[in-house]
Amino acid sequence: MESKDVAIQIEHFTKKFGNFTAVDDLSLSVRRGELFCFLGPNGAGKTTTIKMLTGLLRPTLGSAHLCGIDIHAEPVKAKKKIGYIPDMPFLYDRLTTTEFFRFTGELYGVDEAAIESGLEEAFLLFGLMEHQTALIKDLSHGLRQRLIYATTFLHEPEVLFIDEPLIGLDPYTIRLIKNLLRRKVAGGMSILLTTHILPVAQDIADRIGIISRGKLIALGTLQELRDTHGGDTLEDIFLSLTGEEADACLSSLPS
């Protein structure tokens, strides 16, 4: 793969918290226009990896380049190219949805005309038009998630990180977001997302990486994973790779 085709390049990422190694020598690359799905059991190191990629955490070892820019050497330059949607995003409770949208645009240096046109388009798309003057504190979880999606796409990031993208959303919004992500990827955006909902990963991912105890234990398209690890569905593959501990617990239960 040529370097100009690579959106995310991770080399030997390692993160230690005291004696605990959350991410262990992880190397990975994601192409431009690729939707990469990161799977793993709880505590496997998925969120830690995303936090290192977005500059929220500094790796103990290793480096990451986003569109060719080292996120830790030139953070401001790199952050202009990324978007991040955490599982439980922080929003300013005492701003209205419109104010928050404008504020985020200004933070990324988007010009005013683009903010205004983006606002109408995004609010229509995410069904937020009737909540334009509502304070964020008064929104439901689903509406807050829709708002964060609406604002994240405003500065047209080249790389998007999403941690658990579909938590607490209704079926309509889930469908909307799945379609939107695929459309953005077709437009050249690279997306790295983590999820526990395996059918979603199966549906939308171009490639899948499975991480367990901080190590990348499987990587490839769904077909490649089937060929290498056996099993029909992603669930079979995932459980066969990561389920030993859970199996041991289950078998130790009294009948």
Binding site: L56, V76, Y84, P86, Y92, L107
Partner: protein
């Protein structure tokens, strides 16, 4: 448009929406808050004005003291600002949920640090203006200064706030950066000793009246007089600068303003430099140091032996709350600072020879001490006891589902808070009255008063905390500053007045007019009956309302 101006605009939106929310609230709440604020300001103004007039009655020496008092007052303010900036700076810069949001945005760390510094300055400085306005107004009134005096004060206040707040924030950033969090307890204790206790002890030691020689030293009268007149410290630039401008000494006043402003700029540059070099790393350190191994406070196993006699549900709640208290430095450090300073002051009463003063003065001091302890109880009750049920937050369902009743939950919280407050208050009042060597009746009255006040404050705080329960709010300051919190504080302070004044008056009249034995006994019996009945009322009614509210609520 720069990102920084986006943050400023965001703060503007935020302020406008907060105003909108205030306007949407019940008019009664707004009226109570405004009246309370105005009443407090008017009361403070009157207190300061009378104080200046009293000092003026000493003629020459009085005028010297008044001039120096201006500097002493702002020295006290600067200490308050530094300490409050340490606390608010830590919470705003390193514990705020906003930081991860800003860190992933294309925003230099130095700008994040400066923005959060300004935010913490705003949070820690509103009390500064609230307190200085009546003082400065009383001073200007007494000295017949022109209204421009207010403008000069405002002009000097801004760099003064930046300097004092900045010192606190820089100290906090250095401590958080260079000392591992695992030893936070020891660091907090060391800061407490170095910043609060040692200077206080030193000031008291310096203030011992000199028995040698006949020369008069004004610095020995009030602790801090000499220090406040030191031209190397910001409060002197502040006080002298304002006074110079008021006396139309333009060059001197402008020079002092420039000195203050130059130091303010230096402080902001220091914060910016720290932000660039260390902010991210320090924030990472604070976020990443959550797991600290097994916690096993020595105190709890000992307490467990006592607690085993209690029913399981009550024991579980008590143990949890004790653990929360010791694991939250904000709680124990504030309790330690408030009660610790009072204890130091009371222990030093004989150093000032207050015990040798006439009965009338000793009684006044004793009842002022009752008021000090009660005011601390009242503020701690509002700050920590009132929000404790709301802070159960999203975990309230655990209590709600457990096989216990809301009455038991609320009463457990009340009894715990009450036991702790009453014990500490009795010890403090015992120390104060013992040091003053006042009459046994006055001692009993003081100890009885603080015990009743502690009990009633805890009852009101627990009861109203349950009535105005806010399970969505995670920020204790927001819970406390809500309608219920404000009402609780107002009622607590009102309770202090209606209970302390009758006793204070009886002992004052007794020492000044010499009441007969029967009259005094009758007055004391009436006052005690009043105290007992109003304490019962103030404790039980809010608790009853709280239980009723908890039982009728959907979770």
């Amino acid at each position: 448009m720069s990102q920084f101006s986006a943050l400023v605009r965001k703060s503007g939106y935020h302020a406008a929406n907060s105003w909108r929310i205030i306007k949407e609230q019940h008019p009664f709440k707004r009226v109570v808050i405004v009246l309370f604020a105005l009443g407090l300001e008017a009361g403070l103004f009157s207190l300061f004005k009378n104080g200046f007039e009293f000092l003026d009655s000493f003629q020459g020496i009085g005028s010297i003291i008044i001039a120096r008092l201006f500097s002493v007052f702002f020295m006290g303010m600067s200490g308050m600002l530094v300490v409050s900036s340490i606390v608010t700076g830590y919470v705003t810069m390193f514990r705020s949920d906003e930081i991860p949001f800003l860190v992933v945005r294309p925003f230099p760390m130095s700008a994040v640090a400066v923005y959060k510094f300004i935010q913490s300055l705003g949070l820690s400085s509103w009390a500064f203006f609230f307190i200085i306005i009546p003082f400065v107004a009383a001073f200007a009134w007494h000295q017949s200064l022109s209204p421009l005096f207010a403008l000069w004060t405002l002009l000097f206040s801004i760099p003064f706030l930046v300097v004092c707040g900045g010192i606190g924030v820089v100290v906090m950033m250095l401590v958080v950066r260079f000392f591992p969090r695992i030893r936070i307890t020891w660091i907090a204790a060391a800061i407490f000793l170095v910043c609060i206790l040692l200077p206080t002890v030193w000031l008291f030691c310096k203030a011992y009246p000199s028995n040698q020689g006949t020369s008069f030293d004004i610095g020995s009268l009030v602790p801090g007089f000499r220090l406040a007149a030191n031209p190397w410290i910001p409060n002197w630039w502040f006080a002298e600068g304002i006074l110079s401008l008021s006396r139309q000494q333009w060059v001197r006043g402008s020079m002092l303003w420039l000195v203050l402003s130059a130091n303010a700029v230096l402080i902001v540059m220091t914060v910016e430099w720290f932000g660039e070099r260390y902010f991210f790393e320090t924030w990472q350190h604070v976020c990443g140091s959550r797991s600290m191994g097994v916690r096993n406070p020595v105190l709890l196993p000992r307490l467990d032996r006592w607690l085993k006699r209690m029913p399981g549900d009550i024991r579980a709640m008590v143990t949890k709350d004790i653990r929360f208290f010791f694991r939250d430095p904000m709680q124990w450090s504030q309790v330690l600072i408030f009660f610790g300073l009072l204890a130091i002051y009371f222990a030093n009463l004989r150093a000032f020879h207050y015990d040798a003063l006439p009965d009338q003065w000793r009684n006044i001091i004793a009842f002022l001490n009752v008021f000090s302890v009660s005011a601390v109880i009242s503020s701690l009750g509002s700050r920590f006891v009132y929000p404790q049920l709301s802070l159960e937050g999203q975990g309230f369902w655990i209590l709600g589902l457990s096989p216990t009743t809301m009455t038991r939950i609320l009463l457990t919280k009340f009894l715990m808070a009450c036991t702790a407050m009453v014990l500490v208050s009795i010890m403090l009042m015992g120390l104060s009255t013992g040091m003053l060597r006042i009459a046994v009746a006055a001692r009993l009255a003081s100890v009885g008063l603080v015990s009743c006040i502690a009990c009633a404050v805890c009852g009101m705080s627990c009861g109203l905390g349950a009535v105005f329960l806010d399970l969505k709010q995670r920020n204790p300051s927001a819970i406390v500053s809500g309608f219920g919190g404000t009402l609780n504080l107002v009622l607590s302070l009102g309770f202090l007045l209606v209970t302390i004044l009758p006793f204070g008056l009886i002992f004052h009249l007794d020492t000044t007019l010499g009441l007969s034995f029967q009259t005094r006994r009758f007055a004391l019996v009436v006052a005690t009956a009043w105290l007992g009945s109003i304490t019962l009322l103030a404790t039980l009614v809010p608790l009853w309302l709280g239980v009723r509210s908890l039982n009728n609520r959907d979770y």
